[in-house]
Structure formats: structure tokens, C-alpha cells
Amino acid sequence: MTTPMSDDPQRDPRPVIMPHAYDGIQEYDQSLPNWWLFTLFSSIAFAFLYWLANFVTGTVADDRVALNAELAALEARQLAAVKNLDEATLWKMSRNAKTVADGQAVYASLCFSCHGPTLAGIKGVGFRLNDDLWVHGNTAMAVFGNINEGIVFEGKPTGMASQKALGTERVAAVTAYLLSLQKEGAMRAISRKDEPSQSTP
């Protein structure tokens, strides 16, 4: 590309070419715009203030500390919830409409794929849950434990995995939902082969 260069060179001094050359490339000695330098110096100032606030004065909480504190609080809440759980509490929860509704929502999003939308059970997949017959323990705590820990039968899991990841509150809510369909003291134990939803029609 050719360019005309016919301006009077004496009128305005060209910038000075720096003495060094790298790979034959030379550079002019030009100033950076001050606003550009301002962004550089402000970022240095910011870095200093950031360091001060995060690592010296501790004005801004360390993310790791904050995270660990949050996790510890969560664990404490869960432990407290499990520790306080007993038959009476679970039955009490089963009479709380809000808890039952929460539990039903969890059921409808997860449990129903194996136990059926009407709790009638699915043959070959999940037991019936709306009758008074219980294979893996006929107490409220047993139901809670089965959901929380999963079911191990004859030394191997038989299909239902631990739902602990839901968190104690939601596992308790699902338990409360199931208990809300039962009568306290009327849950009956039954053997695996007699469970009606699994028998061959």
C-alpha cells in the first residue's frame, strides 16, 4: 500500500525512534494516554486494597472460612434434626399439613417412579405404600431409616438407594407424608413374599 507523505516534515517534529530493534522491528518513543495509565494505576491500587481487606485486616471474610462455617452450620442443623427425630416427632409431623404437602411434592418428583403415582406400588419395582402392611419394619423410625439409608436385604441392595442426599428435612417430610396415610399403632409387619403389590395376580 503506497501512501502519500507530502506534509512538511519541518512543521511538526516526528516522535523519536527508540535505539533498540527486535527482529528488525523498531518502535517510536510515545507516551501512553494518561487515562490508560490511570486504569493501570487504579488496578494496582485496587489490588493493594483487596490484599489489605482480604488478607491483612480480614474485613472481607475468606471464602473458605465462610464456606466451612456454612457447611458446619448445615451439618449441625441436620444432626440436631436426626437426633431429635423419634416416633412421636415423626407422627406429629404427619399431622402437619405443610410438612405433608412438602413430603408429597418430594414423593411426586422422585419416589413415585417406583412406588406409583397413587402409592399403589409397581410390580417388580416398588412396594405398595398406601396399605398398612410393611416389609422392612413397621415403625415410623424404620420408614425414615429405610428412605434415609436405602434398603439392604440379605447383604445386598435390593433396589432402593439411599436418599440421604435429599437432606434430613425432606426425608422426614416424605416419611411424614407416608405416615399421614397410616393410623398410629396400626402398621403391620409382613414378610417380603406376602407383600400384595408384588404377588403374581
Binding site: 501512501t3 511538526d12 510515545q30 507516551s31 417412579s113 409397581i122 438407594a161 442426599a165 435429599l166
Partner: protein, 467 residues
């Protein structure tokens, strides 16, 4: 002190000591300027009108980030359709590149928001409050103790603030819609702190840009201008000075021949980036045609033909003829055609529903019972439409007979809602011949929507099931 004229080695608006000299360019209301103003007003009107135009119940453009839904001219896209953005971004880039090969930096001079607002809103306010370039330069030199400077510059800044504030609001309306924006305007700022801060920051940034930063954005921040040397070739049409006709510049004298350029410096006075176009194509040139209008004006007065500075390719300015048909333009056209076809097909295939499939979390991979083998999936179904719809899910397989449990009644999904649904897929034990691939089909009741998802059925070795 008289400011030195533009040189190619340095940027006029960056001082030797790093200060920022402000330009007060003159204006020539020539035919190019009038054409550019018409385009600019059209673009501003378009930008301001889009949020007000309602198409199928939503603004023509409503990027509803809060609900992760994007309404574009009557089509609603969800986050799942975000991949279509690929076509927008590559298409935009490609269009600019292809246009540059033909017409140089026409984007900068005619359509870039920086130029459109700076030249046709903010410089208009400059002239309105502070007069022409001569009186503006005088005002620059006056001390602040002069009340007329305070009054005129203050008035200009208030007007600036108003326009920046208006543009920021229109910009915000693209993301929260006019009905969403209105209560935010009438309520106290603290009622919607996030929106208020966004508006205030946008207003401040616009004000800083159009008052102080101006051409620095084009010269230093914008990458497009820096790509000019790669995007432009000798046949691209640029704003150029006809050196052959113009030189040698200045007055003719006996024994000294002269070209058509009278060295009046009018082209330098009007340049918004402070270059001398007669020094050839430069990175700073935003191809705004101000120098074309300026030179044509002078040539007309001198009764010489116009076009000493004009739209022309480097080849044409060198005495040749511009070739529009060249390998790169042919290639660009071919690629543009391919891109347009693929983009059109993709957009037409967007369905008003979404269907995604994954294995259900926290369940066994499969369950085996006396009668059947089961796999549990989690389906995410989204109704992107504005009416509730009933959907059915069925399983199809070429080999094994496969069924979806409890899905005969289907499910109704509310408009713009998404549900997560566990799906139990069953195979009878006697039909089971090992793992296989199958397809799940989501179908709307009216049959208008049909979406497929491939899935894999996991199960035990069939021999272990034989007794």
C-alpha cells in the same frame, strides 16, 4: 500555542505528554452527511421503537434474563435454544468482514452506535449550546470564571445527561420490557436497587463515553479498526484522497504546476478523529465521509469537479479499476449462503417445547423383578408456548418391546413452565435380550409437536435371568 497538524506517526488526540487534546471538528452539511443523518435517525428510531412494538403478546425484542426466556419478533426461545446465538455472533462477524471486503469500514461511519449517537445526537447538542467549531474552541480557552462558559457548558452537560438517561432506559427496556420498566420508574429507586444501579451505571458510562472518551473508543479500544489492514485489500472501497489529481497541492505559480488540492485543510478541520486523509488510509479513519463533504464543498466553490476525496478503492485511486469479483468476495458470498441456509433451517426447526432426558439420580441403574426389567429416567419437559398443552411420552424400539409406565393419560404443562418427571421404562422378562438402544417420543395432544430423545436401556446379562 498552535496545535501541530496531524502526522501519521502519532495519534492527534493523544498528546506527547499523554494528555487528551479535545478536537472541535467543523461541520459541512453536505449530501453524505445528510444521508448519514437519515440512516442514523432511522436506526435510533428502530432502537427506541422495538421494546414498544408488541408481537403475539410480547415486545418485539424482550431478552427476559430474569426468567431465562428470549422473545424475538413473536418467537420465544429458552435457555436450551441458546446455541442459536452461534448464528447471530458468527453471522454478525461474518457480515462485518464481508462488508469490509467490499465497502471498507462502512459500519463505522454509518451504523456504529458510537458514531450514530456521537455525530447525530451529542455533536448536535455541542453546536446547539456552544456554537460552531470556532466558538467552541474559544469557549475551551475561556476561564471557568466566565459565567457564560459555565452556563453554556453546564447546559450542554444537562442535555447530555438527559439523552444518556433516555438511552439507558431504552436499553434497560430490552431486558425488563416497558410494562416491567414503568413501575420501576415511578417507584422509589430503593424499591428496585439492582435495576436502578444498572440504569445509573449505564447512564454514567454513556455520559463519560460521549462527553470525554469519544473517538478514543474507536482508536484504542475497538478491535475492528485494528483489523482493518487484514480485512481491506486494494479493491475495497474506502474513503480516499485522489493523490494523482490533487498533488502537488497548493497554489499554482508560473513554472510551478499544481494539482487540484488547494491545501485549504478543510478536510482536516472536519475530521472527528483528527487525521489528514491526504496522508492515505489510516487506522484512525472511521470512513465517516466528513472530509468528502468538506472537499466537495470547496471544489464546488472553486468550480472544479468534486470527488478529490471520495469513496474509491486503493486500486482506483492508483489509476486502475475496482474489481468487485475476486476470490475472497466469491468465497464470502458462498460462505454467507451456506450460513444463511443453515441458520434458517435451524430456526425453523425450533419447537415450542423442550424435551431432555437423563438417568434418574439416586436410583439403581436397573431393577429386576419377577415379571420385568426396569430403568428409571428423569425427563425435563418444557412448554415454551403461551397456551397450556397436554403431552404424551411413549417409547419406541426396533427390537425389544418396551413400555413407559403410567404415561397413558399424559400430562398438562402450563405455558412457559418446565417440569421434571421420573419415567419408568419397562421390558417384560421374556422379551429381554440384553441391553439395547431405544427412543422416547414426546408428543403434544394436537400432534403438532413431536420430539425424540435417544436412550440406552441398561440391564443384566440376559442369561442370568434364565432359570
Amino acid at each position: 500555542m498552535k496545535r501541530p497538524g496531524p502526522i501519521r506517526e502519532s495519534v492527534t488526540t493523544i498528546g506527547q505528554d499523554g494528555t487528551r487534546p479535545f478536537l472541535q471538528p467543523a461541520i459541512v452539511f453536505g449530501s453524505w452527511w445528510k444521508a448519514r443523518r437519515a440512516v442514523a435517525w432511522l436506526l435510533i428510531a428502530f432502537f427506541a421503537a422495538l421494546p414498544w412494538i408488541e408481537i403475539e403478546g410480547f415486545p418485539a425484542v424482550f431478552l427476559d434474563v430474569e426468567h431465562r426466556r428470549f422473545h424475538l419478533f413473536g418467537t420465544t426461545l429458552g435457555l436450551g435454544d441458546l446455541w442459536l446465538l452461534f448464528f447471530v455472533i458468527t453471522g454478525w462477524g461474518f457480515l462485518i468482514y464481508a462488508t469490509t471486503a467490499f465497502l471498507g469500514r462502512i459500519w463505522c461511519g454509518w451504523t456504529c452506535p458510537q458514531t450514530v449517537y456521537l455525530e447525530h445526537v451529542f455533536r448536535v447538542l455541542d453546536r446547539l449550546f456552544e456554537g460552531d467549531h470556532v466558538s467552541r474552541a474559544k469557549l475551551d480557552a475561556q476561564p471557568w470564571s466566565d459565567p457564560s462558559k459555565l452556563l453554556r457548558r453546564g447546559g450542554r452537560m444537562i442535555a447530555y445527561l438527559f439523552f444518556c438517561w433516555a438511552v439507558a432506559h431504552i436499553f434497560l427496556a430490552y431486558f425488563i420490557s416497558i410494562p416491567g420498566l414503568y413501575p420501576m420508574i415511578t417507584d422509589a429507586p430503593l424499591a428496585h436497587p439492582a435495576a436502578f444501579v444498572a440504569m445509573a451505571v449505564a447512564t454514567g458510562a454513556l455520559l463519560f463515553n460521549f462527553w470525554w472518551f469519544r473517538e478514543q473508543l474507536c482508536l484504542i479500544i475497538c478491535p475492528y479498526g485494528r483489523l482493518q489492514s487484514a480485512l481491506i485489500d486494494d479493491d475495497s472501497v474506502i474513503v480516499g484522497y485522489d493523490e494523482k489529481r490533487g498533488e502537488p497541492r497548493g497554489k499554482a505559480a508560473p513554472g510551478i504546476p499544481a494539482g487540484d488540492c488547494v491545501d485549504c485543510h478543510r478536510c482536516v478541520q472536519v475530521c472527528p478523529t483528527g487525521i489528514d486523509i491526504r496522508q492515505g488510509l489510516q487506522m484512525e479513519c472511521i470512513a465517516c465521509t466528513a472530509c468528502v463533504d468538506a472537499c466537495d464543498d470547496v471544489m464546488t466553490k472553486l468550480k472544479r469537479p468534486t470527488g478529490l476525496v471520495r469513496y474509491a478503492s486503493l486500486r482506483e485511486l492508483g489509476g486502475g479499476k475496482t474489481r468487485f469479483l475476486r476470490p475472497r468476495t466469491v468465497l464470502y458470498a458462498a460462505m454467507l449462503a451456506v450460513g444463511l441456509v443453515v441458520a434458517t433451517v435451524s430456526v425453523l426447526r425450533v419447537q415450542p417445547a423442550g424435551f431432555k432426558l437423563s438417568r434418574a439420580p439416586q436410583t439403581e441403574l436397573y431393577a429386576v423383578s419377577a415379571g420385568s426389567v426396569a430403568n428409571v429416567f428423569r425427563a425435563k419437559i418444557q412448554n415454551k408456548d403461551e397456551v397450556p398443552r397436554r403431552f404424551f411420552i411413549s417409547a419406541e424400539s426396533a427390537g425389544t418391546k418396551v413400555a413407559v409406565l403410567n404415561q397413558s393419560a399424559g400430562m398438562v404443562i402450563e405455558p412457559q413452565a418446565e417440569i421434571a418427571l421420573p419415567l419408568t421404562v419397562l421390558v417384560d422378562r421374556q422379551d429381554y435380550r440384553g441391553e439395547f438402544n431405544f427412543t422416547l417420543r414426546l408428543r403434544s395432544e394436537d400432534g403438532k409437536i413431536s420430539l425424540l430423545q435417544k436412550a440406552h436401556f441398561i440391564g443384566p446379562d440376559p442369561r442370568t435371568l434364565q432359570k
